[in-house]
């Protein structure tokens, strides 16, 4: 009985630790760890810091920010890109504390 218990626990621990490491992006340019860009009039512009310079407002199927993989811009976050100068009907991003 104890053997089965021990086996179940060992499997759960091994899968969770292994899974966490396996799903962690190894490349620094992967998604949120990378520099974020947003599409502005056909060109990609630096987005700034998420939650401070901008927010991604959902529900929306639009791509909010992109990150660069080689020379390709790949979607990272979904929603509407919103900054302090975005329309009044949408919320402004939170300001960082100094």
């Amino acid at each position: 009985m104890k053997k089965i218990k021990f086996m179940i626990m060992t499997l759960a621990i091994a899968f969770s630790i292994g899974g966490a490491f396996a799903t962690t992006p190894r490349l620094p340019q992967d998604c949120l760890g990378a520099t974020q860009y947003y599409l502005n009039g056909g060109s990609y512009v630096l987005a700034g810091r998420m939650g401070i310079d901008y927010i991604c407002n959902t529900p929306s199927s639009a791509v909010c920010t992109y990150y660069k993989v080689g020379s390709t811009y790949t979607p990272c976050c979904w929603g509407n890109y919103c900054t302090s100068n975005c329309m009044t009907s949408k919320p402004a991003p939170k300001k960082a504390r100094n």
């Binding site: 009985m1 218990k5 179940i8 626990m9 969770s16 927010i55 949408k90």
Partner: protein
């Protein structure tokens, strides 16, 4: 090992899998987690507190679920944490906050908010079932001990 015992072990294992995976993943991608927390609709001043508390709590809960003696408090803590996450998800879905934060890459992160709700409710139900089974087991063991003493 009876069916109740196996169910209890399976519940504990699933919760350990969830909490340990979630806690370790957050620490492994700490910068990303900070960004995600900043994108949530609560004040950014909460971020330094939350980014340490949430993953630490998740790992501590996973550890308590591993041992028989601490399993009941672990299941109760798991129910409280999952209920809080569910309430937050519900608030987001009901547009309680000024905006709905984005969902970004990752495995659990790829879930939409309604999917998150179902996912959370499943683990809330698992925690409740785990508490019921663990309490029954606890009282049964007391009853058997008393019977043996008499």
């Amino acid at each position: 090992m009876n069916r109740r015992q196996v169910t209890l072990e399976a519940i504990a294992a699933l919760l350990i899998l969830l909490f340990l995976y979630a806690g370790i993943s957050k620490f492994l991608e700490f910068d990303r987690f900070i960004g995600e927390m900043n994108n949530q609709p609560f004040p950014n001043s909460w971020t330094p507190f939350l980014v340490w508390t949430i993953p630490s709590l998740e790992i501590v809960i996973a550890l308590t679920l591993m041992f028989e003696r601490t399993r009941l408090p672990g299941l109760i803590a798991s129910l409280i944490l999952m209920t809080l996450f569910t309430l937050y998800t519900g608030s987001v879905l009901l547009h309680f906050f000024a905006y709905v934060p984005c969902s970004c890459g990752g495995v659990i992160r790829k879930l939409s908010w309604p999917q998150h709700m179902v996912f959370n409710l499943f683990f809330v139900a698992l925690s409740v079932l785990g508490i019921i089974l663990q309490r029954r087991k606890f009282f049964t063991s007391i009853f058997i001990t008393k019977k043996n003493l008499v």
